[in-house]
Amino acid sequence: MATVTGTMGGVLPRPSIHTTGFWSWVTTVDHKRIGVLYGVTAFTFFLIGGIEALAVRAQLARPEQGMLQPALYNQLFTMHALTMIFLSVMPLGVAFFNIVVPLQIGARDVAFPRLNALSYWLFLFGGILLNAGWLFGGSPDVGWFAYSNLTGTDYSMGAGMNYYVTGLQVLGVASVAGALNFIVTIVNMRAPGMSMMRLPVFTWMTLIVSILLVTAMPVISIALIELTFDRLFGTNFFNPALGGDPILWQHLFWVFGHPEVYILILPAMGIVSEVLPTFARKPLFGYAFVIYSGIVIGFMGWGVWAHHMFITGLGPVANAVFALSTMLIAIPTAVKIFNWIGTLWGGQIEMKTPVYFSIGFVAVFIVGGLSGVSHAATPSDFQQSDTYYIVAHLHYVLFGGAIFGLFSGIYYWFPKVTGRMMGETLGKWHFWLMFIGMNLTFGPMHWLGLNGMPRRIYTYPSGMGWDFWNLVATISSYLIAISMLIFLHNVFRSLRKGPRAGNDPWNARTLEWSIPSPPPVYNFAEIPVVLARDAYWEQKYGSGHENGQAHAATSEHVSEGQYGAAADERHDIHMPWPSYWPLITAFGLFVVFAGLLVNVVFAALGVLILFYGVYGWALEPVAE
């Protein structure tokens, strides 16, 4: 596309439209590109978090090893958790929100493209701030939930906790900004005929996750603000000497922390709910049940937080109430499991790599869900708290659950984003190595934990009966690492040599497959009109074949390019222009928080940059 000069006016001219090169990515407001930025950044952090985990496992391979110093070990397991939760799984979910949601609802972009870019830059800066301790004065080392009063200046004298409070604060702003955008996009930007009960399930789960983010992140923001004030300005929120209550931190943290668990898992559930119907050649079994159980999970996720706190001594009434609510939340989750099984049942399942990961998700998530129910029971939780049993459970739901779901999504939508197919053979090697490695790494932790091995210890004595299974877990964790290398090889190979995907390589059901791969900047040449759930399936085959598989199995694709490709260079569609302001605004907020740790003068400078960014943003001319 030709270079167009920005219209003068405002504080800075709008950047010119380039379709390639460094600046085209820095100033982009295109949801697909922002999705790719999110995905690549998050996957880089995923590799960093993985290396941290491998170091932890290496230290635990044999009893009484001194490979890592205890202080470094504490930083590694803390940063592993923070990196995986806040910098990998959450933003990988957001990468899919960005790439998939506007396409699934038949929109040309999100409601606020520049706000979307701001979210990404804030995420990047927050991730850098959270990791700054590796270079400047040490990383957080008190575990990811950072219980007070270990986090006060009396016990955490180094800079580590400062990076925790400021880095997570910036990441929180990024999440809320992004989530607000997706709420408005999904509620307001649907194509004609796309009623709420025709929305693809992934889009529905995005909406629920966004509502959870918008409501849960402020709670952790307040907790972080209180801790920041305690550490930097001498307040007494968590100072027992003056009446402060360290348990307040636990409440605030887990009131955020439990919805957060569903923030991590619901995107994966949405992906699985897209993949299974596509490859089983059947509509999702019990669509409404999947949606409503997602909503119920979203609500009930707010009423279970104290099951993380049974051993703090809340008393029998509170413990009983939270035990019951925790057991109840297993029901809507189980409903979804049955819906996925029902979708596969009787389907003509095409066993492509995305299906492997989706079925892997369902299988492993059942194990993680059941171990979760086992510590919903308070007495059994008393035994399991702070042991490796908890580590086993959380990795079965977050690694076996969320990560498997996300990989399923990567294999499923990679052709849409890049225009090329991923290698199937390598994909299956990746799956089997990861599946076996994952079960042999985290499976033994169940009985290590029940045999009394506490979590977060940097070494253990020989003769406790823990030696063998720790060694197995460590070796298997390197199996997972090998599977990741295979995945990376597959990605780079497929980018160069993968077969062309065409519009609809999977004979899929939703609107993103009706347009070329990769999609043009404007997504849809003509905004589609939606007549039924599984809108693209309906376009291809009509509603008469909604329930049958025979017709679909012949995989007669509608002539490719019918929707969109014909008009590849459409100049009459006005797309939002690129902008510098999201980056400048995000940088301002970054300087505010990073500056707080150095000198208030720097923070004030950050406020000035922030104001400059916001006003430049508001006054930016519409360049058309």
Binding site: I183, N188, V214, S221, E226, T235, L242, L248
Partner: protein, 205 residues
């Protein structure tokens, strides 16, 4: 607020008919409810649990704070008048009432600065006890919200002054109003729970 929207007023049809930016503000206010909800919860959990003086009864000047609360509530009225004036294209009225709202908000913030200064002179600081900690952080964050509101109002006033805020894009003012009324309502809650609700006898002072 987005000056750029003057170029294209709410022309895009949305699925709900509700403007995107208005929906964004409502969703943000939902988020802000949880923000203040958590702060106020912290205050209520710690209410009456501060161990050392000064205690609330020793420093609070209820009549003074009542006046500044009244000022803030009146600013909601002037905000409504500003929007009504703008929507019937009464430019003069709109400018007057926008400025009046910004001034009332500034008076409230100024009153809070004076109140904080007085409290510090009486020995109540951010770090002296649990009451000072929870009081200053809660009311301080509310004051910050009001200050941001005043900045938005002044920006809108400049827009109106340059003739760029009219009945066609009164949505800018309406959305700012949503924020402003929300911040007022939060103050009603804070004022009641922090100032008016009686404290336990032994710390009443």
């Amino acid at each position: 607020m987005h000056a750029s929207t003057t170029a294209h007023p709410a022309e895009h049809d949305t699925s709900t008919g509700l403007d995107n930016r208005k929906l964004l503000m409502w969703a943000f206010l939902g988020s802000d409810c949880l923000f203040f909800g958590s702060l106020i919860s912290t205050y209520m959990i710690y209410r009456g649990r501060s161990l050392t003086p000064p205690f609330p009864g020793e420093v609070f000047d209820i009549p003074y704070t009542s006046v500044s609360a009244f000022v803030l509530l009146m600013s909601s009225l002037t905000m409504v008048l500003a929007l009504a004036a703008l929507q019937r294209d009464d430019q003069r009225g709109a400018k007057t009432w926008i400025m009046a709202t910004a001034l009332l908000g500034s008076v409230f913030v100024g009153g809070q600065v004076y109140e904080f200064t007085t409290f510090v002179h009486e020995g109540l600081t951010l770090s002296v006890n649990l009451f000072g900690t929870s009081f200053f952080v809660l009311t301080g964050f509310h004051g910050t919200h009001v200050t941001i509101g005043v900045i938005i109002l002044l920006s809108l006033f400049i827009m109106a002054w340059r003739g760029k805020l009219t009945s066609h894009n009164s949505l800018n003012l309406e959305i700012a109003g949503l924020y402003w009324h929300f911040v007022d309502i939060v103050w009603i809650v804070i004022f009641t729970l922090v100032y008016l609700l009686p404290y336990p006898e032994h710390i009443a002072g």
